[in-house]
């Protein structure tokens, strides 16, 4: 993939996709979207960036190994369950905190933490696979 057009457009496209993936993640509770679909978009952004600039450059840009993201996601999902412990409700019960900021409602909840965990798992795992497939033999 060595066309100038693609190499120029890819970073902007990847950035746009990453932002949109977070948007899809956050609107997921009441509208179409959510952690899984957002995560897939995020992973595709990594893949496109990897095709355009090379795997090594992508790994440098995200600083940590994608699998680390996946680990973080599992930890977040587990933590979202643990939060119910002091509230005397069963494991993984959805707890909501709704704030009123400037007339608009901001709803924070444990399902949101869980969903962010799912997002991180999908970005991490699918991203790691994509980068491994794009990489050369023996390159980690």
């Amino acid at each position: 993939m060595n066309t100038v057009i693609f190499r120029t457009a890819a970073p902007a496209l990847a950035a746009l996709m990453l932002v949109f993936s977070v948007f899809v993640l956050l609107r997921g509770h009441n509208e179409p979207g959510g952690g899984f679909i957002g995560g897939l978009m995020g992973a595709s952004a990594l893949a496109i960036y990897g095709i355009a600039t090379g795997v090594r450059e992508t790994r440098k840009a995200i600083r940590v190994h994608p699998i680390t993201f996946a680990g973080l996601g599992v930890v977040l999902a587990a933590v979202s369950g643990f939060i119910s412990l002091p509230f005397e409700v069963p494991f993984l019960t959805g707890l909501w905190w709704i704030f009123d900021v400037d007339g608009s409602e901001i709803a924070l909840s444990t399902p949101l933490i869980f969903d962010i965990g799912v997002y991180a798992v999908v970005v991490g795992a699918v991203g790691a696979m994509a980068l491994a497939l794009e990489g050369d033999e023996g390159e980690d």
């Binding site: 999902a77 069963p90 494991f91």
Partner: protein, 524 residues
């Protein structure tokens, strides 16, 4: 249309949940949390080991507390997310679940320590400890869940992490083993999933406690078909004859620690699921299935040790002995009486611990002799006293001779067979013990008593023998000896296990207390 005030039934659990009830969530949640954390800490070798040990120790403590609580207050349940059962996913533990989970965490702890003696840096970096925790998460989840679809999910968790562990190291023979293991296990889990779908179509529920009530109203014909499919799926998972070929073809290929945890835990999950689903949740068809299960049990009991007798590869021989043990559990399952099921639960606990320790021992033997085939082993009797003692105990333990742990469940099972008038089964159990004893004596003679390798120079000292280095002696032999000491201790004081398996069998046969725990005693 006149508007009427709608009378919504309650959908949420309103009573507060005590923190102590979380005891059944910890084994799964902590393992998941730990696995995620360790994935993030890739490449931190020492830290990985320390954290993994910490998590497994916490899981063990939680399981111990669970067993004590069930002794005191009977089965325990928690439905996730505050939704009322059967709509929420229930975790429910009776004595069967609790002792299985406890034995699994004990075996996992020994394996985690042993792994320190053999893992290369590369294997550790590619995630041995996270995958071990994930495997433990899947196994504990299977034992503790009270929902049949959730059981399938834990099977998948277990399967995925076991693929990872199986190919860790990436040697050609491992990939070969993984393909055989993977194909048959995927087939079994798919069959499991299909049967769940049929069962849901018949009863409209997936909650095990709810199934107990609803499956009573279903015609026997369809239920029998579904039960047969379940039996096939679980028999493949448990490696019962005739679906046992994958086990000896794959379990000897990975690292010894991985063989140990697989042999100790995975097949027992299949046997557990068979007992849980077929005996407890849909008991109506078990009467018709009984002849099939008896035949499977007898064939597995006899063919397991016979296969081991034909093997000269040490870890493959152990693999066949795992299958023999599954035969004993299936014998109890086939009897379906208090003695039978109690014996099956007791035997499964024994088998989880004993097989784990057996694989660990086999690993140490392979280290010292530098061979995997018993034909090229020999002379260990003079070379290592601790190993000789441990293996001699193993000979008695696995063939069910007194005074070790293997004897007690065999007594229960044989007594159950005699009481039920099922002489074939009782006879097969005794023949199994006898054949196993022959296998073990043969291994003992080849590996320990004979001076050198098979052939002309068998009377001369084995030149290949080497001593265990410090890591191997400390972590490897240490972990093996401690687990063996635990087994010996349990064998000398088996009272609480007798009591536990009695309670387990009663609750499996008349699961009123289980149903009450899940539904909070509100239904009649």
């Amino acid at each position: 249309m006149a508007s009427q005030p709608l009378d919504f039934p309650t959908a949420m659990i309103e009573a507060p949940t005590a923190a102590a009830d979380w005891v059944m969530v910890w084994p799964v949640a902590l393992a998941l949390f730990g696995a995620g954390l360790l994935v993030m800490l890739r490449g931190q070798g020492r830290l990985q080991f320390g954290l993994a040990m910490l998590v497994i120790a916490a899981i063990f403590a939680s399981n111990l507390y669970l067993v004590l609580r069930i002794f005191e207050a009977g089965p325990l349940a928690m439905t996730m997310g505050k939704w009322l059962p059967p709509f929420g996913i229930t975790f429910a533990a009776d004595m069967t679940s609790a002792v299985f989970a406890l034995a699994a965490s004990a075996a996992a702890m020994a394996v985690a320590v042993y792994a320190q003696s053999e893992l290369t840096e590369r294997e550790e970096r590619f995630g041995f400890y996270p995958m071990l925790l994930l495997l433990l998460c899947g196994v504990s989840g299977s034992f503790l869940t009270g929902d049949i679809f959730n059981l399938y999910v834990w099977f998948e968790v277990m399967l995925i992490s076991s693929f990872g562990l199986l190919i860790l190291g990436g040697r050609k023979v491992q990939l070969d083993g993984a393909v055989k293991y993977g194909f048959l296990n995927l087939l079994a889990t798919t069959m499991f999933l299909v049967s769940i779908a049929y069962l849901y179509g018949l009863t409209g529920t997936l909650n095990l406690a709810d199934l107990i009530e609803k499956s009573g109203n279903i015609e026997t014909g369809p239920l029998l078909a579904v039960s047969l499919m379940f039996l096939f799926a679980f028999a493949v998972k448990a490696a019962a004859f005739p679906a046992n070929a994958w086990l000896p073809a794959s379990y000897h290929t990975p690292a010894v620690a991985v063989s140990a945890i697989f042999g100790g835990l995975l097949t027992k999950v299949g046997a557990y699921a068979a007992i849980r689903v077929l005996t407890m949740a849909i008991p109506a068809s078990i009467v018709h299935l009984q002849p099939v299960i008896v035949a499977v049990a007898i064939a597995t009991l006899i063919l397991g040790p016979l296969g081991a007798l034909a093997q000269t590869h040490l870890r493959r021989a152990v693999g066949f002995l795992v299958i023999g043990g599954i035969g004993a559990i299936f014998a109890g399952f086939a009897l379906g009486t208090v003695h039978g099921l109690g014996g099956a639960v007791f035997y499964a606990v024994h088998s989880m611990l004993a097989i784990t320790v057996f694989y660990l021992l086999a690993g140490l033997i392979e280290r010292m002799t530098g061979a995997t085939d018993t034909l090229s082993m020999g002379g260990l009797y003079g070379a290592s006293t601790p190993l000789s003692i441990l293996f001699l105990i193993m000979v008695f333990l696995i063939s069910g001779l007194p005074p070790f742990l293997g004897l007690w469940p065999k007594i229960l099972l044989v007594e159950g067979g005699i009481r039920a008038g099922n002489w074939w089964l009782a006879g097969a159990l005794l023949v199994n013990s006898f054949l196993t004893l022959i296998v073990m004596s043969r291994l003992w003679a080849h590996i320990f008593w004979r001076n050198g390798p098979e052939g002309e120079r068998s009377e001369q000292p084995n030149p290949e023998l080497r001593r265990l280095d410090r890591r191997e002696a400390g972590f490897g032999l240490g972990a093996t000896a401690v687990l063996m000491a635990l087994i010996v201790g349990l064998g000398l004081f088996p009272n609480w296990l007798f009591e536990a398996s009695g309670i387990a069998a009663h609750d499996l046969l008349s699961p009123d207390r289980y149903v009450d725990a899940v539904f909070g005693g509100e239904r009649t």
